[in-house]
Amino acid sequence: MARTTLTRTVLAAVSAAALFALGACSSDAGTQTGGGGETGAADDGVITLGFSQVGAESGWRAANTKSIQDTLTTENGFDLKFSDAQQKQENQIQAIRSYITQGVDVIAFSPVVETGWDAVLQEAKAAGIPVILTDRAVDSSDETLYESFIGSDFVKEGEMAGEWAVEQYDGEGYKAVELQGTTGAAPAIDRKEGFESAIEGSDIEIIDSQTGNFTRAEGKTVMEGFLNAHDDIDLVFAHNDDMGLGAIEAIEAAGLTPGEDIKIITIDAVKDGMQALADGKINYIVECNPLLGPDLAEIAEKVIAGEEVEKRIVVKDEAFDQEAAVEALPTREY
């Protein structure tokens, strides 16, 4: 009897281990890029940079990851240690701690949420490792905890979207619905604020607003609900392309023509979104530039060289209407 139990336990352990190994492959491939020297890597001209990414939740994020991995290469003098936090703060904190122990030269990350970073950033500071934030900010009273924050101005993005809507549709009494991003995330809060302030004073009215969690699937179901709840929707403002693409599906299923019966404005300008814009299903997209790799490389080099860097670096965002999308599409990098 005891023997059977033992055999079973061993078998179970082996099979479990086998499956875990299979699952772990994906993250290993990312984290163990290069095994560069750990102390004073800057002496030999190679900058070891630990990057903790939010996850792979959207097309935007995938483009962002690619930009960073393609820029911070060995040829460019970097040894990149990359990890994916799968949208969990504790994974990011763990990754940052491990970078501190490994003694990397620079730590960079896109915080999943705004708060709760003081302790781990203090540790990095104590270890003398500079920290650079990309894409999203942290909410901390102590600004010395990080060197610089590179990213888009989300409020501005919302404003650009709102201004265009006012320019095009003011005076027609448009009723708009809003597909918000993840509740509590900085881009969702700021884009909402920017859009609302831009349409103030016009006769465009937001009649409903719900979260679609930045995903296509939820964008679609929420839009279906909006279509059930209101007869007279003229305009959809989605906080990212993916939710806008979901809304297109819902609008088509309702027998309406997206881009004509219901106008759509989104933010991000990822490939699928741009394609829909070129096809006339979306009316306007404000870009949120994911290609932060070059900026990150430049700032990291400056920080290591001891130069002063700006605390806030705003990435320039463009905006596209349908004609611009047709032109831009063939040369888009993402």
Partner: protein
Amino acid sequence: MRDVLRHHLFWPVAALVALLVANTVARPGFLAVTVRDGHLFGAPIDILRTTAPLLLVALGMTLVIATRGIDLSVGAVVAVSGAVALSHIASSPDPESPVTVLTAIGLALALCLVLGVWNGFLVSALGIQPIIATLILMTAGRGVAMLITGGMITTVNSAPFKVLGSGFWLGLPVAAVIAFGVFAVVAFVVRRTALGMLLEATGINPAASRLSGVRSRTLTWTVYTASGLFAGLAGLLISADTMAADANNAGLFIELDAILAVVIGGTALSGGKFNLSGTLVGALVIATLERTVTVLGISPLVTPLFMALVVIAVTLLQSPRMRERLTAARRRQVMAPPEPQPAARPDSTPDSTEVKAG
């Protein structure tokens, strides 16, 4: 009247009706179904379609729970299924060809079947606790899906595949036809043969049922395999809905929704007696609840709280002990003479359709 009140489906159905009434009050045309572009259109049709994946997953979950198990890996299997199908379509030279799409569906379902067999192997052959055995795949599965999609969200344009998510057949959504069809077949097989009774026997006492000649081990293995297969099918419907395979978010927490649907439907997590029609109502309640949030315009900040309150209300009304208290209180109020019936154990009240099966 009392029989109606005491029917095991009374409270779940009441919840469903209440939600529909709330929607109709907020939006008088809510239940209207019209024909648009040659198919039915309206909120009830949307609800049927969004219920489809959850219904499939909950169906597998009900069978697993009947054998005293639980399958936490279904969400991960959903992600794997979508990842396999869309990766295959995306990498094929002709994404629009029905052959490509059928191969993709076949590959995805085959892999999910294997994952189900794996769960069944851990639970029935190795005797590992179901919650632990399926936890392995729950954590590792999304990693596998990420590996398949290379960490990206795979999107494709393929008309034949899109039919699964947004197509219509005889005016009804294809997704709903598939899910309700599978449900009907399983319900028929389980309730018109001895299979249902054998499953219940396994859940009530595996050792005793084995000694009396029931092949519990094979049965357990089968239900995990079925659960994996149904989750795979759900994964296809979910990925066809948006034409995107999102390894991180597809089917996220669907295992919890499925368990909830099973519980709302009146199947106890302790195994044994199970109730497929209850699961169907449970899945509909959850899908309608999600739609209600949008129609009532509930703020995203209080949405989780609102949903939790509804779920608490339904499960409380459903709980035998709570019902017993309510009945007792009501009886005291009307001062009715005490009845001789053993009100102490309403959960074991013989239910003709359930017990007579087989």
